[in-house]
Symmetry: C2
Subunit: 225 residues, 2 copies
């Protein structure tokens, strides 16, 4: 079962080059091509390819919008591999948010491109090294705004940190008391300690501190909202 690929790029020459290159592989079959985003959505719907090589800069509808549209309408496991010349941050982040499985630059070697297609078809994701680097940077940065914050978190006892996460979840003192199986007075004294030790004045600041410090992160909230 070969990998069925669609190629989307506004330059016919580029499409042809990729198509030829990929077509030489035994396990890859180029089933469709499109020259703009709107056409991309059409051929995606019509041919249901496994992988779509998508340029970003295109007339009509750009690659990001097309990616989002395709991912939304897709009722089959399609993977979009963004293939572009530039890699500014906005492109990358928007592409990943739109649902792309990969982001590689056009200066990639033919072998690597083929391997990238196989990787995303296989359910993996793949980014250009420079992109990966920045993504890691963004990911690794938040959790600690440099020991300035973390050192203050360290001053808290484990119980106090526990209370702080509960506070950060928006619980009242009474709710926290029930959750932790202690009296309300206990929670009050813990909260007081937390505020004092962290140099804060109210629990709203405590919530903000919990997020800013990385003690709790957006997404791992217990509250559903």
């Amino acid at each position: 079962m070969s990998i069925r690929v669609a190629i989307v790029d506004d330059q016919a020459l580029v499409r042809g080059g990729f198509a030829t290159m990929l077509g030489l592989q035994d396990d890859i079959e180029v089933v469709a091509e499109a020259g703009d985003g709107a056409a991309a959505v059409e051929i995606a719907r019509a041919h249901r390819p496994d992988v779509i090589l998508m340029d970003i800069r295109m007339p009509e509808m750009d690659g990001l919008a097309a990616t989002q549209a395709i991912v939304e309408i897709a009722d089959w496991p399609v993977k979009v591999l963004i293939l572009t010349t530039f890699d500014p941050d906005e492109y990358v982040y928007n592409a990943l948010r739109a649902g792309a499985s990969g982001f590689v630059l056009k200066d990639i070697s033919p072998e690597d491109l083929v391997s990238a297609v196989r990787t995303v078809a296989d359910g993996g994701a793949l980014l250009a090294p420079s992109v990966t680097r920045r993504l890691i940077g963004r990911f690794a940065a938040p959790p600690s705004l440099d020991s300035l914050v973390v050192s203050r978190l360290d001053r808290l006892t484990s119980r106090e940190r526990e209370v702080l996460v509960a506070v950060a979840a928006g619980s009242s003192n009474n709710e926290i008391a029930e959750d932790l199986f202690v009296g309300a007075a206990t929670v009050k004294s813990h909260v007081s300690s937390v505020l004092t030790k962290l140099g804060l004045t109210n629990r709203a600041q405590a919530v903000a501190f919990a997020y800013e410090s990385g003690l709790v992160k957006p997404g791992d909230s217990d509250i559903g909202f």
Copy 2:
């Protein structure tokens, strides 16, 4: 100028395999090996390699701690490439936070490993496809828990959103009143509206909501903490 590589793994056989494999490359030179984390820090200091292949599971000091230690003491541009058999989330995230430039699995092909070494030596970063996928997932998720949340934010008037960010910064009603040049009663009524419209019960939840929804993000806090 060849790439100077150090290999850290507690199994001598594995070290030998990698060393031989990498040594065959014209542009790669294996300059040191270590069998545990503590030794890794030593050889890093002594040999100042460009790239360190680092296993995670090791006696004495694990690869994550060693990575962190090396990155901290390093006064030369060293890149740590984590090379492990497993890829649970904790490993990955801790590794990236510790300062690793890459995270690949031991089932990687020899050619890909060599290419990975070259990539990180060149300043890029590289992750195993499965790892990249999860990282993208975590990255793409936060910005908006998809319309469920954003739609509720839309219900707020612009003034109410303005008040909400102030609340999220930990300001009291009086402080917000001063900042926005309105009366305290006005702020109260705005806060009330916000809580009602968002279905929240107290301002701590409002702060959490602001972060969870992406209205405010860790880092763009006005408060220095």
